[in-house]
């Protein structure tokens, strides 16, 4: 099994647990076996995060180790990190999960009704195909 996403300086990571959930940052330095120094846009700043709080993405930018926040941010802007991130399935799934959690009771009801209707259609189509074959 070949790993493609490495923990390296410049790797963009998405924070999936903890207080900064939903935010992203760039790995600027390694603290120890389980902690990273991460720097990101205004919402997160420069901060130490645990490895398990974080999900690595495919995006990597070129920055020197331990560089200043300003450098990180200009490099991120140059590479267009935010736009690239929004296109990743990781961020899309997270956004979808978030949106689902924000649904009210009525919306949940409507979704459930739509789902049962579509499931019924699917099952009846499958049954028809089984019968004909």
């Amino acid at each position: 099994m070949l790993y493609k996403r490495y923990i390296e300086i410049g790797r963009v990571c998405f924070i999936r647990l903890g207080d900064d959930i939903g935010k992203y940052g760039v790995i600027v330095d390694l603290v120890d076996q389980k902690h990273l120094l991460v720097d990101g846009p205004d919402g997160i700043g420069r901060k130490v995060v645990r490895l398990n709080q974080v999900a690595l993405t495919d995006i990597k930018i070129n920055i020197p180790r331990g560089c200043k926040t300003k450098t990180v941010r200009t490099a991120m802007a140059k590479e267009g990190v935010e736009a690239k991130l929004a296109a990743t399935s990781l961020v899309k799934k997270f956004a979808a999960k978030n949106a689902k959690a924000q649904l009210g009771d009525f919306a949940r009801f409507k979704n459930r009704v739509a789902k049962t209707a579509s499931n019924r259609k699917i099952r009846s189509t499958v049954r028809k195909l089984k019968k004909s074959s």
Partner: protein
Amino acid sequence: KQWYQREYGVPVQKSPRFYPTEDCKTPLKNRRVVKPTKLRGSIVPGSVVILLAGSHRGKRVVVLKQLPSGLLLVTGPYKINGVPLRRVDQTYVIATSTKVELPALPAIGDEIFKRKGKPTKNEKEMFVDNAGDNSYKISAEKVALQKEIDALVVPAVKKVDMLQSYLRSRFTLTKGQFPHEMKF
């Protein structure tokens, strides 16, 4: 000047003729002011609400207004889910974010909901007459009022897509759903 013509000062408050030998504590004054029950910000006339207790638990119901007693006046509407005009405490209710635009409704107070008390002993009779049927019978006035209110509320509900079937359904929890994590 004579004694009856002289001017005397008289105390406005005379000292009491009697006071106890030891100082005894006086109870604090009751300064309680009865205020009307504060309604949750999420509950507004027209908001859909989930009943949590009683025979109609789990049913979604429309709030008409807050009565002077502090309780919520609520109706299914009766035609949709069988919940009549009813009083409900806001603590036994989950407020959803769905709101129905209600037209102007007739004024309703707490009086029609007051139950007749048990028959009390008459001075002349020995025993209280409990033999008769004292079960609760819905008054014709209430039935008429329910029809009147339904005629106003049901069209307002039908205007919103799928709201009628939503009010017909009951609220349930399935696996993985935790009310404290859910948005209503």
